[in-house]
Amino acid sequence: MSGQTMIEKILARGAGKKEVKPGDLVSVKVDLSLGNDITAPVAIKEFERLGLDRVFDPEKVVLVPDHFTPNRDIAAAEQALLVRRFAEKYGIRHYFEIGRMGIEHALLPEQGLVLPGQIIIGADSHTCTYGALGAFATGVGSTDLAAAMAIGEAWFKVPSTMRFIYEGELPTWVDGKDLILYTIGQIGVEGARYKAMAFCGPVIEKLPMDGRLTMANMAIEAGGKCGYMEPDAVTFSYLEGRTAQPYEPVYGDADAVYEQTLTFDVSRMEPQVAFPPAPDNTHPVSEAAGIKIDQVVIGSCTNGRLEDLRRAAAILKGRRVHPRVRLIIIPATQRIYRQAMAEGLMDIFVEAEAAISTPTCGPCLGGHMGILARGEKALATTNRNFVGRMGHPESEIFLCNPAVAAASAIAGEIVHPEEVMA
């Protein structure tokens, strides 16, 4: 018998089996189920069809109104109200109201709700973010969420695993976002369809948790079921002080079987830019040089964390956003917002003439807080650049890391951060 990957072991444990193999269909116990103001209303409608007077385990349900909140219009307000009432009725303690909330995938790890070895489902495709802490986490639909709230289980096909090894030294201004954009560019938007993506190697060992979360977050953009890093010292130090709950890390066997292994040397990697209309249309930033932009967004579940804001601030300090450009900065959670204030980052942003928003997914999915007009171009640290994603179907989105976004906001066109810092 050959060994198992971390994901196979977690799923086997959740299914109460000794082992599972890729392709097996299993029903597993879920440690955490997540919904937001867009997906939870559909789940609640389905859940209520079952006529139950309780959810399976209220401690294992998390509800975060983050997409169209603070309510953008009456319809969004009605949706948010539905979620709030459901949380009250069923005693969902992990419901995060405006003022206490954050973008779900930044918020849950920050609150210590995500632990190594867990099985987490979320009615949001970027639930795969939590793999950065060594969990099996994957996006599902609203009906899956409804079922998990009712019976505490979900069904899965055990994925095969692709392994990505990153070697060399990360150049200045290149971070987790560039590693994942480059990877998606190499394998394509369906390169990891139905598969787990294991991120490892010396570069990952040194990568801080914020960068790891960014990478796992975008596994879905390659079609992946999940992306993950095995737990290590970085993971355990991140968890310190965040949770009092016991957890049991899971590691892949030395003889685990990976369907494919790709090795990338990152030492000469440039910051990456994904051109429209898909995240796999990636180019080195030098090939994007000179593209004029109307709006820059720094934020989202991909890049709205403290480390991202620090990188942006390092570039914006003492500089001004180009007069033709609107720079919108969205700290992903209240805690990040406060920390950014304490560190003086907010002063730097406002002095640079950026607009700062309360936490929201907002413009990333064309919800609110920065919608594009016909023909406009945006550069964003978000995760998708599909047609119409941030507004008008004839607007365009380029994706990049926070440093490139900040530097380009100053230049008024896409540039390498070095050019602004020189």
Partner: protein, 165 residues
């Protein structure tokens, strides 16, 4: 179950933002969603699609967001079945869970077929028949577990059944 209908063709990597743009996600009613289905990539679709029509696409259909509103919008539009070379995984499970018939077929149907032509589909046998020339294409069979969910009318009915046991 036998379906017969007119074909709408789409290419590869049709994402859920294309199927139902996020700006309409304050709605949950399938018919309300259907009014905007595909509007950014085929503005005629929502107004012209008829109950029973079939959607044929290339690979990775339904990639992107987890929004169940995407299969709901297609169902609300009256699409009787989506046939694709492959599906993105969340769309695949959403379709099974809500009872929107889907078939995965290796043949390059989105390149072979012409828009508006007629297909007959035997869902249980996974057989797709092109009515213009009678050519037949076999879709991949569903695993037993998924067949159970489909037969019980979706995941919620499956859960209801389990809770009774």
């Amino acid at each position: 179950m036998i379906l017969e209908g007119k074909v709408w063709l789409f290419g590869d990597n049709v994402d859920t933002d294309a199927i139902i743009p996020a700006r309409y996600l304050s709605a949950t009613d399938p018919e309300e969603l259907a009014a905007h289905c595909m509007e950014d990539i085929n503005p005629d679709f929502a107004a012209s699609v008829q109950a029973g029509d079939l959607l044929v696409a290339g690979s990775n259909f339904g990639c992107g967001s987890s929004r169940e509103h995407a299969p709901l919008a297609l169902k609300g539009a009256g699409v009787s079945c989506v046939i694709a070379k492959s599906f993105a995984r969340i769309f695949y499970r959403n379709a099974i869970n809500i009872g929107l018939p889907i078939l995965e077929c290796e043949a390059e149907l989105s390149r072979i077929l012409a828009p508006g032509e007629l297909l007959r589909v035997d869902l249980s046998a996974g057989m797709i028949i092109r009515l213009s020339d009678g050519s037949r294409y076999q879709a991949a069979p569903f695993p037993t577990f998924m067949q159970e969910i489909i037969q019980q009318g979706g995941l919620i009915e499956y859960v209801r059944h389990r809770l009774k046991r």
